[in-house]
């Protein structure tokens, strides 16, 4: 007993003479991840920051200059200068898209997960079916949606009895984009939430049923709280993914009709227009916005994330 008490107190155990000390083991176990991240992600980020502080000539090879004032010219342009209309419009579109998509995905994903969790025949097959949207290439499904929503070659208009040019009007184009994204990622949410549901011990439900709790009460008092960790992870990652949406708007509309997201704007500026300074600044700004959102999440649900790492 005393040994266990010592363990719980967190002080090094006298008995252990074999095996690597805890702290060192921790460093070893974390090292591969850190090394990969430093190599693959850190260098490009730093390089991008460097690029964003300069302007590179489109007319003369190799010519560049410090972006006035103080290297921040590209940032000031984007935030309140010449490019600000595009930047804030893209920010607005990105946020609307993210909020709408994530809310819908969570609700539908949760419903799917609950349905998949209930025992019935063919459950395994259903889980596989549900993953199909996530499994097919985004680019390919975007092309499918373009055809399906086409007023002449698709069937949505005949189905709904409308005559809209879906991808050609605001805000219909954004609505289609949200729909396409929800279609693709509700299954992703469902998978994550299902895994979370599956670790909730059945006994708790039995006990609750014995205590007379009905389905709704069981859901609210048991399922939701115990699902929180999985739900949180799913939410964070989906939000971060949605904030960086690129493939979908590019293929669906190429950003037309008010569907240009931040990533699309950054890519167009960087790659198509070869404005490396401005494009990098837009990437960094996107990065900062996404970071703010993720810290916001962590703040909001503080206990859970910090709790992930507390003893």
């Amino acid at each position: 007993m005393s040994d266990t008490a010592t363990l719980r107190a967190g002080t090094p155990q006298k008995r252990r003479s074999r095996g690597i000390p805890e702290r060192r083991l921790a460093v070893y176990m974390v090292a591969p991840s850190v090394a990969l991240i430093a190599l693959v992600a850190l260098w490009p980020i730093i390089y991008a920051i460097w690029l964003s502080l300069h302007e590179y000539s489109l007319r003369q090879a190799g010519l560049s200059r410090w972006a006035e004032p103080a290297g921040l010219g590209n940032y000031t342009d984007a935030l309140w200068g010449d490019e600000s209309a595009d930047f804030w419009s893209a920010t607005r579109v990105t946020f609307i898209f993210t909020i709408a998509s994530v809310i819908l995905e969570t609700i539908i994903g949760l419903a799917m997960a609950l349905a998949m969790h209930s025992a019935f025949k063919g459950q395994g097959l259903l889980r596989t079916v549900v993953l199909v949207p996530w499994a097919v290439l985004t680019v390919v499904t975007a092309i499918m949606w373009r055809t399906i929503f086409d007023p002449n070659l698709g069937f949505v208009n005949s189905l709904l009895g409308t005559n809209t040019v879906w991808l050609g009007e605001e805000p219909q184009a954004l609505m289609v984009m949200i729909f396409a994204d929800v279609w693709k990622t509700a299954p992703f949410m469902a998978l994550l939430l299902l895994a979370g549901l599956q670790v909730i011990p059945g006994e708790i439900y039995e006990a609750a049923k014995v205590d007379g709790a009905n389905m709704w009460q069981r859901f609210r008092k048991i399922t939701l709280p115990l699902l929180m960790p999985a739900l949180l992870v799913a939410l964070i990652f989906r939000t971060l993914d949605a904030l960086r949406a690129f493939d979908l708007p590019k293929v669906l509309t190429n950003g037309a009709n008010d569907t240009t997201t931040l990533s699309l704007l950054a890519q167009r500026t960087f790659q198509e227009n070869r404005l490396y300074g401005e494009g990098s600044a837009l990437s960094i700004l996107t990065f900062i916005i996404v970071m703010i959102v993720s810290f916001g999440y962590i703040r909001l649900v503080g206990g859970n994330i910090r709790g992930m790492t507390e003893e």
Binding site: L58, Q60, A61, L63, D82, N152, G168, E272, R274
Partner: protein
């Protein structure tokens, strides 16, 4: 306490890496005088190709291109290799997407990589590459062959008074029309739209992308409008002629003469719409001809093509598509690259390309060839189209110019802004792009 130490280490590493990056950053100004802000592009000091290096050239040449859709480049490269034992041409194929191809080439040039010796450059990219001095100044070579090629194609390689590549393949769009609904090709665009209104309408490419720039300029140029001034430094797109052309297109959409959904259509969607028999007219490239005639389409045997008609009260125009052969300055074998380029633009290869692979050549004499005329019912129309064709604006900031056009034209077509407003916005966007450092 602990957190601070880790943060300090992290920032220290960042600073160190930042220092390393500074050392190998891209901000050296080699070539071009070092002046901090020159307003006009200058290509002084660009490498000039040595025509004599063609003789006795040997070695490997990597030819970078998009996926060899027609298969002609592969077949012709094989033939070239056989006829020129000392030189081996290898193909490096990128994606079918034009944007991807450009990105791949730009990436290599930025990295100063000689992986691509020759690149199959879309006509709209050549000026960009020239302004960055990524490709050889080929004036001495091109000047020798100037008289043989269709003049309009030379516009696309002409930048800053020099020639930067050799035109190799060209393309110009047609007005497709249903022979069972239209007795003879209309004489003016206005007539075309009127006939379309009485029948099944017209379909074209109205999505906001490069294709819309082509479709719009075909009407705008015909109406007498321009995009840039003579020396390419000012935007002049906001002009009464252009407004007239745009208004004409907008009216067509409003009246339902243009297919519903045209504002989201690219080449393939409009072709599919046309092939299901839903339209009387279509604007599209020649590739749709053979596909439309295939058994099973609703239009097989029921259509023909014509060069674009006149814009009432003004003139005729078409937009030139196609590709140029450009040679990378980082190539380690410019001589062999030039030999390959030269071979691909001689009469035999050009005729072979057209006869067996349906790709339009740049040499005028090929169009006169009787075999060609026999095989392609539309050879004559194609020649006429190409003859009246013009290049799109030649500028190092072409991507931004094109965006200004297609974004705003699409807004007008969708009815969200008036033609006047659209062109005013386009002009100011273009102007600020032209003034980039």
């Amino acid at each position: 306490m602990r957190v601070n130490r880790h943060v300090a280490v992290f920032l220290g590493c960042a600073a160190l890496m930042g220092g390393l990056v500074a050392g190998c950053g891209d901000d050296d100004d080699d070539g071009g005088g070092g002046a901090a802000s020159e307003e006009t592009g200058t290509t002084e000091g660009a490498k000039v190709i040595d025509v004599a290096s063609m003789d006795n050239a040997k070695g490997e040449v990597t030819f970078c291109l998009g996926k060899d859709t027609s298969g002609d480049k592969t077949a012709l490269a094989k033939q070239f290799n056989e006829e020129n034992p000392g030189i081996t041409v290898k193909l490096l194929e990128f994606s079918t997407s034009a944007d991807e191809q450009r990105a791949q080439f730009v990436q290599r040039q930025e990295a100063k990589s000689g992986e691509c010796d020759v690149f199959y450059s879309d006509v709209i990219w050549t000026a960009e590459f020239a302004s960055q001095k990524w490709i050889f100044d080929m004036t001495p070579y091109v000047k020798q062959r100037e008289a043989e090629v269709i003049p309009a194609t030379l516009e696309t390689v002409n930048y800053d008074g020099k020639f930067w590549g050799m035109p190799q393949q060209t393309d110009a769009a047609f007005l497709y029309y249903r022979t069972d609904q239209v007795k003879e090709p209309p004489g003016t665009w206005q007539e075309a739209y009127q006939i379309a209104g009485e029948n099944d309408g017209i379909v074209y490419q109205g999505a906001p992308y490069e294709g819309l720039t082509c479709d719009f300029l075909e009407l705008a140029y015909a109406a007498g409008g321009e995009v840039l001034n003579e020396d390419g430094t000012q935007a002049v797109i906001d002009s009464p002629e252009n407004v007239k052309a745009l208004q004409f297109m907008v009216d067509g959409v409003k009246n339902g003469v243009a297919a519903r959904g045209v504002t989201t259509y690219m080449e393939e969607e409009s072709r599919r719409y046309w092939e299901s028999g839903k339209a009387t007219f279509m604007r599209n490239w020649p590739y749709a001809y053979a596909l439309g005639q295939k058994k099973g389409t609703a239009v097989a045997g029921k259509f023909d093509v014509a060069p674009f008609p006149e814009f009432e009260g003004a003139g005729k125009a078409a937009i030139l598509g196609g590709h140029n052969y450009v040679i990378s300055v980082f190539s380690d074998n410019p001589g062999a690259s030039l030999k390959y380029t030269d071979w691909m633009t001689q009469k035999e290869s050009q005729k072979e390309m057209f006869l067996n692979y349906s790709l339009a050549p740049v040499l005028t004499e090929v169009y006169e060839d009787p075999d060609i005329k026999k095989k392609y019912p539309f050879a004559e129309q194609l020649q006429e189209s190409v003859a009246q064709a013009r290049a799109r604006p030649v500028s190092p900031v072409y991507p931004q110019i094109s965006q200004a056009i297609y974004k705003n034209v699409n807004e007008a077509l969708a009815g969200r802004t008036s033609p006047e407003e659209a062109l005013k916005t386009a002009q100011s966007e273009m102007q600020s792009a032209l003034e980039t450092f």
